[in-house]
Amino acid sequence: MKVPPSGYLATIKSSVRELVAILRRDFPYVSILTTDSSGMRYSVSKRAVDVRQSAWCERGSVVRIHDGLRYHEYSFNDLNAEGGRDREALAEEIRRRVRHSAAFSGRVEFGIPELPAISEQALDASWCGEVEILPETASVEQIVSRLSRLKDLAFERSEHLVEIEIRFEHMRVAKLFVSEKRQLEQSYDWAQGYLIPVVRRDEILREMFATFSGLKGVELIDELEQALPQTIDCAEQLLDAGRIEPGEYEVILSPKVAGLMAHESFGHGVELDMFVKNRAKAEEYLGKRVASGMVNLHDGARAAEETGSYWFDDEGVLGSDTVVIEKGIFKAGISDLLSALRLNTVPTGNGKRESFERKAYARMTNTFFMAGSDSLEQMIASIEHGYLLEEFLSGMEDPKNWGIQGQILYAREIREGKLSGRIVSPVLMFGYVPDVLQSVSMLSGQVQRSGSGMCGKGHKEYVKNSSGGPYIKTVMRLG
């Protein structure tokens, strides 16, 4: 079913165009991004139900202006077709802020580097996504009933279960970008789900975490239902989990952990605003080997169909598919528009904002390792003593020093080419990115992606994206 466009954006389109035209009288470049993203989050646990609008909802505008020297932005959320602020008054308020910024910059001892105005090719286009079941066709009663039924099934399956949260969230992302030469509009749905069981045996308490996502609608709940038994069983296994002996091991990364690796090891490090700041070690390696010859890594809003997908970014640049690593060689980074202007490179459609209220940065979209030709069985059989890292909790980048840290929820021990049945939890994986990527020796044949989490730049600016890969065999330090 086709995702409908935003009614709000349709009503204010002419007002936005008018505001751009008014401001263009005074400034060389003006663009306005307006968002109208809405959705609901449903959460069912043992003794509580929660229904609320998703925290990803937003409706508002950000105007970007080049004053002939540099860029200014102003975010607001009271623009509508009839009421709200008068367009001329709003334009005057924006002019006042730009003037004030210029005055301020003259008073303090900081440099003001000159940046050229953005040059765009004319484009007028709109896009709508598709899902199997549009969220508005399912009632709250239907969704809550299904999640409640899953909760009951979970408690029937496990005597150790003390709590479970079953969460389903759907979002309709709708954005309008208007500049003098461009009018772009897009509307698409994504959904995500979580199964978070908590089990206890005597004093041992463990939490499991299974996630689901995609450019999907209510059909995603089917995936939660299918995965529920395995997730509960895995939570029970965690009750017997041991601790890992810290050290360096041969490891197999599951597609989810491979995704974390793609994201934290090389994704953040090739965001080109990091190059502008001289914060990325990757800059020294452009055109050079950074990984084993079997490693290929892509990022792009059009490289895959997941929660990091879109047709145009928050700066009005069309999404693309960037080959970041090809046969182990670092080929290209991913870029927002202003970083591309500074570096004299081509923007890749990776300029993303947390919301209309925030600055745009170079951000990942769908980041993933490409498949190889090995089977998981072959990979396990090749390891004398190592671990299969199954599920992660979080990760952190270190683009300057190329360290990687990942909090792994649990790992399965491999002994003499077989899974021993022993589980360790939690596990900290860390290493030096070139060492880890150079050590990649096997990749399985199928890529799986996951986009249920969120990605920060440092510890803020959270945006949606996905990551993934095949099963990957490499060497890492675990602790």
């Binding site: 043992k46 102003y74 975010s75 009271d78 580097p113 009663e141 020093n401 360290g403 900290l428 030096y432």
Partner: protein, 438 residues
Amino acid sequence: MMIERLQRLLSGIRELSGWRINQRQIEGRELFFIRRDVDMQRSKDVDHISLTVYRDFEEGGTSYRGSVVVQIHPTHSDEQLRASIEQSLNSARYVRNESYPLAEPGSRIVRMPESGFAARPLEQWLPLMAEAVYAQEEGQEARINSSEFFLNRIRARIVNSSGLDVSYLSYSAYVELIVESSGSAGEVELYRELSFSDFDADALGAEVSAQLRHCRDRASARPTPHLKRAAVVITGEPVADFFNYYLLRSAARSVYSGVSTAKVGESIQVERISGESLNLTLEPLLENSPQSAPVDADGFALASTPVVRDSRLERYWGPLRFCHYLGVPATGSIGNVSVQPGSRADEKLRREPHLEVVYFSDFVTEPLTGDFGGEIRLGYYQDADGNRTPVTGGSVSGNVLDVQQRMYFSRQIQNCAGFRGPQSILLPEVNVAGAAST
């Protein structure tokens, strides 16, 4: 006047059992630097409103209170508002939660202390903040790579159907700072975020100066040795994260769900403690904390609340709803945590050989299990002869349950991001994995 429009529309709906409106009007200024060059200036004026509708119903002889929370946009017409309310009301019928009361208007009025930021227009503070930060570069062997400054003035208002109508003004400042240096370990950087609600140029400068010194040390740091099990001192913001384990165990919501079995009057630590006893208090109004607020999201008036005293659980804490479920007095959701510092002099804390970690890549304490850990970006290893060497790489990991009997808190205190408490914790035996050779 969106709140008044909403109130008018809500008053005409018969099936409604109650409602609450939360409004946050935010005026913000932002300034971005690459080295000493202004990268961009931003500003914003936004109005965020959320509406919670409550619907009471009975099923099988049990009373329920269903609720749905929706965002209201300033651009909504009356017709759109009415549709949103009615849809939420219908949906609330399927949210089966035990009944609970709404916050009542109280006679006790807690006032927010006035921030120094109120003395000038917002835009005038950003240069002052930037100057306080960049002045620290002088004489240092590290420099600022880039920085971001944010300052928000927030007018919050909470209105509900029980006649509650409270509002307060707060400020939230945030600085993100990346500093860099080079040395025998090559070119390195350290990331830091600082948040505060009042401007103290000296305090801000001291934090930045320490970060620059630490970055210099990281540039000459050696790989962390593989200590296997060692005494570890955790210093700075991760200390606050460590106590999240006790916050979850004492939360009314965790007890209600069965995740926590902690009981009031019993030890939340261990019975026989040879280290430090925990004393933890929730503070609604902590000096210079952006998390400070006189009321919580329900509009419930907050007060200083001792939760753990001498390691014994004094009371459960949480919002009106979950405290009501447990039949205990509500404390409300309080944003700041205060932990009593230790009795040991800081020199005594560091007398034995240990690893002190001052920067992690990302220190995480899983509040449910007590597992904690993180990769070391900068630590100092002190050997048996008292030699102190900067180290980097490798990791620290452990579990609160394994260390809580013999942990020691520093006498020196810190104030950071909604936390006031010891600057450091000494953990007796923790896993330390050494760094990979790079």
